[in-house]
């Protein structure tokens, strides 16, 4: 079932644009190639356009322009064939809470023309695999959040799809459950050779799960590569300094103007973050420079580049801040729900 196109790409997106009524440009010409058999992460803050991209690639929504092929099939010309090849776990769970676990799985199987013994066997297999065998007869309304998510993923796998879309699969889950979910996702790619397109606004999640990722910001892909590649492009370290008091306008920049080895400096009145060649050498110089301008330092730390730094480099914004901003601009109901 998991056969792929000769070129080995599970998803190919070219110049995808999506403009919503009211002229909201959710996607502004994105290009993406997702190789088969691995987890591809679509990382971006709230409102970046991740969910829109998934909705279009999974045939739910229509593109304004651009070409999208999933499992080698054009999603606009042949949505039905694409639907046979994909499984989708949306941001809002697709579990029917009025049905029990087994009924939810059976429903998905029947829609995909799997019947009788074959269906029964597959349903049992999935219940077992996702630790739901004991709760198969309980109505999904009474499942915990983690169980509902597991059932959600299981229902997307009944027909053994080639490509699985996971739209923010761990949003709203407890940290413990999140870790469990990560293990499950890793297992799916390693053991079943599934291609997974995962969207997330957790840097840590993208870092851990994605073999390759694309960073999406305001409807554009700003960077692609493996998490390692992206981080290595940023040579050196990051120094974070927190001041004891707010600094007067401009003083931070003036203070650090002549410090050698600072490649990039971002700051507000209280915190600063400097990209440097070598953290250990730069720290004393930075501290000295700040003290000389009367800026007392509260704490200082040095770190290897993170995806946050990668995001910062390409967008000039801090990820967490962009995420909050994006969340504020959107309806309280959820990301990109219009």
């Amino acid at each position: 079932m998991n056969q792929q196109r000769p070129n080995g790409n599970a998803i190919e997106i070219e110049s995808l644009v999506k403009v919503y009524k009211g002229a909201v440009r959710a996607l502004d010409g994105i290009d993406l190639v997702v190789p088969a058999g691995s987890v591809f992460g679509l990382l971006g803050p709230n409102g970046a356009g991740k969910t829109t991209a998934v909705k279009i690639a999974s045939t739910l929504s229509f593109p304004t322009s651009g070409t999208i092929r999933v499992a080698g099939i054009d999603v606009v010309a042949h949505p039905r064939q694409v639907r046979e090849a994909i499984g989708v776990v949306g941001q809002v769970s697709g579990v029917d809470v009025n049905l029990n676990g087994r009924e939810n799985l059976r429903l998905q199987g029947l829609i995909r023309s799997i019947h009788g013994r074959e269906l029964k066997q597959r349903v049992n297999e999935l219940l077992e695999q996702f630790g739901l065998a004991d709760s198969a007869k309980r109505v999904a309304r009474n499942y915990s959040g983690g169980m509902q998510r597991r059932l959600d993923i299981a229902t997307a796998l009944v027909h053994r799809p080639q490509v699985l879309f996971l739209d923010e699969p761990t949003t709203g889950l407890d940290p413990e459950v999140r870790t469990e979910m990560w293990q499950e996702i890793e297992r799916l790619t390693h053991e079943e050779g599934l291609t997974i397109l995962l969207t997330t606004h957790y840097l840590e999640e993208a870092d851990r799960l994605a073999a390759k990722l694309a960073i999406l910001d305001r409807g554009k892909v700003v960077a692609t590569g493996s998490p390692e590649e992206l981080k290595q492009e940023l040579e050196g370290d990051t120094i974070h300094v927190e001041l004891r008091e707010d600094a007067p306008d401009g003083t931070i920049r003036v203070a650090l103007e002549n410090v050698k080895g600072i490649r990039r400096l971002d700051h507000d009145v209280r915190c600063l973050r400097a990209r440097v060649e070598h953290g250990a050498t730069a720290i004393p110089l930075v501290l000295q420079a700040l003290e000389s301008k009367g800026l007392a330092v509260d704490s200082v730390s040095v770190s290897r580049p993170s995806l946050d730094d990668v995001y910062m480099r390409y967008t000039g914004r801090e990820f967490a801040r962009a995420d909050e901003e994006g969340a504020r601009q959107q309806s309280p109901a959820g990301e990109e729900k219009r």
Partner: protein
Amino acid sequence: MKELLSHSLTMTDRDLRRLARQPWWIVVTLVQPVIWLLLFGPLFKGIANIPGFHAHSYIQFLTPGVVIMTAFFSGGWNGMATIDDLNRGVVDRLLVSPLRRSAFFIGHVLQTSVSIIIQAAIIVVLAYAMGAHFANGALGLLVLFTAAVLLGGSLNAVSNGLALIFRREETLIATLNVFMLPLTFLSSAFMQQNLIPHWMQVGARFNPLNWAVQASRSAISSGTDWGSVGTHLGLLAGLLVVCMAFATRTIHTYQSSV
């Protein structure tokens, strides 16, 4: 065709399981018709004495009206469940599966038909106990049930289609109220057609609810005009087809807006 049937029955099965887990819902929807029978029946008992009123008793006259109205509202409010499905992501999950689009609506219509038949049967038994007579035996009741199912099914399809367009409970409730209530009273459900004001008689002629009331009342009364029954049932069947076509189109509207 085989696939369409299989998908439709799968959806019906899903809806019926949901219904079976909330059996109180059938009881809730029966409260209104029972009130009509128990209160309107005695309240307007004297109507049967008006010159030119043909039925033996008002209960006799009112029963088909109550059955049809119950089916009308049963079907009409069905879109609320679809709004719930939309909010829970169930609709999106179904739309990215190879489910035949019309099966989504056929499934709902079949489920509504089952609940309408259960409700109609209960009302008929109750009315019988209160002294209503049913002419033409099983055939009369068959026409009554068919008219109820065709009308309820049509309303069901419209309601589910509107749910996909509006996607909000408030808008759906407001819209349904705007046309369901007037249609109820612009009919001969409570009063014989030739005894209501002329402008209402004209309006009633184009009112599907009235088609269903006329057909079923004629079929369970003596002196049935079978030609008129057939015409009205035909009109109702046509309405169901039109409503299904409308509903199926709303899926595209929905997908264009998400």
